[in-house]
């Protein structure tokens, strides 16, 4: 039996780097202290905020919701709304929705469940089928990521949030970092910061309070607080995901060389200021169709919708009309139409 380094009770966690052991009580204290410190260090929240917590109902997001709800007791001017994006993945999402609803209802926390079906026009399952039928070249996770972000922004604006908190943990961040190095996407690397805010374009500030938290710690926090049951629920589309392989590789590296993931996080933090001003990561436009901030004149979500036949005819007419006198827009639309076998989309 391993004992806690602080009180001799049975340990539930040994930090692989410091080798300190923590019992349940001391682990929870350690975890919350780390998250509070991260939030302070990066100036994530002010005294008066309406925080939208992007909650999937999984371990990370319920841990985030739990700790923010706990902290809000000491910050009376914080309002919290949990937002769950229901992509419509049969046999998967229903189960995590239940976790959130149960959690929020017991504690009286306002929550919104926003479906792809109502906001995009189709469930993710149907989008993937339609994309395949039309010969579109995208992986399930591409649609999901783009549309999820789009719907989350929309809902956050509808509820008048001042900030969106997401539960991306250190593992997520370093995996994305490595994936973007592999694909030579430095503008995406420069966006991997703990806080994202933009003065213009109605972009709502985004924060990642778990930026320095390993996935295992946030999972353990969820389990020790009874937020989720130790059962394995996996998205059926995950096998199509590059992240799947990168994650495995990084965890094997971490086991051999404890601290490797922290090292990558530090490497990311060192490169971001160097990239500043050299790669263009800021959204310069507001999408002509939906008005969301975008790096192109029409945002990715609207381009996907167009290719899937989910954009209304008058909106397509409007952008085609604009494209007549706008070469950049015309070539963007051409690119997106030549990316599919269905040129009839346009």
């Amino acid at each position: 039996m391993t004992n806690c380094s602080f009180c001799e009770k049975p340990a539930v966690y040994v930090n692989p780097i410091s080798r300190l052991a923590y019992c349940k009580r001391h682990f929870i204290e350690y975890f919350e202290r780390k998250v509070r410190r991260t939030m302070r260090k990066y100036n994530m929240l002010s005294e008066d905020e309406h925080i939208v917590v992007a909650t999937s109902g999984g371990k990370d997001s319920l841990s985030l919701l739990h700790i923010l709800v706990k902290l809000s007791r000491k910050n009376p001017k914080w309002r919290i709304t949990a937002v769950l994006i229901d992509e419509g993945i049969k046999g998967y999402r229903e189960r995590t929705v239940e976790n959130l609803v149960k959690y929020a209802e017991i504690r009286g926390i306002p929550y919104v469940v926003a479906g792809f079906k109502e906001y995009i026009g189709m469930t993710l399952d149907d989008i993937i089928e339609e994309g395949r039928r039309r010969g579109l070249p995208y992986m399930p996770c591409s649609y999901c990521g783009v549309f999820r972000r789009h719907v989350l922004n929309q809902v956050a604006r509808e509820v008048r949030a001042t900030v969106i908190a997401t539960a991306h943990n250190m593992d997520d961040i370093v995996q994305t970092y490595l994936m973007n190095i592999i694909s030579n996407s430095w503008e995406r690397v420069s966006a991997l910061t703990p806080v994202r805010s933009e003065e213009s374009g109605g972009f709502i500030k985004r924060i990642k309070p778990f930026y320095e938290v390993p996935e295992k710690e946030s999972a353990l926090y969820a389990i020790l607080n009874n937020l989720v049951k130790p059962e394995f629920i996996q998205c059926p589309y995950v096998k199509y995901n590059v992240r799947f392989t990168v994650r495995r590789m990084l965890n094997e590296l971490e086991d051999k060389y404890p601290g490797a993931k922290y090292g990558l996080l530090r490497s990311l933090q060192a490169i971001v200021p160097v990239l500043k001003g050299r790669v263009d990561s800021r959204s310069r436009y507001n999408c002509l169709v939906c008005d969301e901030p975008s790096s192109q004149k029409v945002c990715r979500a609207c381009l996907y919708k167009m290719q899937l036949g989910l954009l209304e005819a008058e909106k397509i007419g409007f952008i085609l009309d604009k494209a007549k006198s706008d070469k950049a827009l015309a070539s963007l639309l051409k690119y997106y139409s030549s990316n599919s076998n269905s040129e009839k989309v346009l």
Binding site: A11, A21, K24, C141, E215, K216, L220, I223, L224, E231
Partner: protein, 72 residues
């Protein structure tokens, strides 16, 4: 030769597998290694309680291995 009848039973939630290991005692770390599972992705339970990778699992015990990775 004496036949050993006591083993460590491991339930792996991710793959829904039940594995029996014929070892007298082992640390959780070695156990995961033998099963080809990484330390950073797994939490191990014994009798419903979380145990650490430094803990020792003995003959005739049952452990549950929970994979921490996010859904997708």
């Amino acid at each position: 030769m004496v036949m050993r009848v006591v083993v460590i039973r491991v339930k792996i939630l991710e793959t829904n597998q039940q594995v029996e290991l014929d070892v007298k005692s082992t640390t959780v770390r070695e156990l995961l290694l033998r099963l080809g599972l990484t330390l950073s992705e797994h939490i191990v339970f014994k009798n419903g309680e979380v145990i650490t990778e430094d803990d020792i699992v003995e003959d005739n015990s049952e452990v549950v291995v929970f994979t921490v990775k996010s859904g997708g």
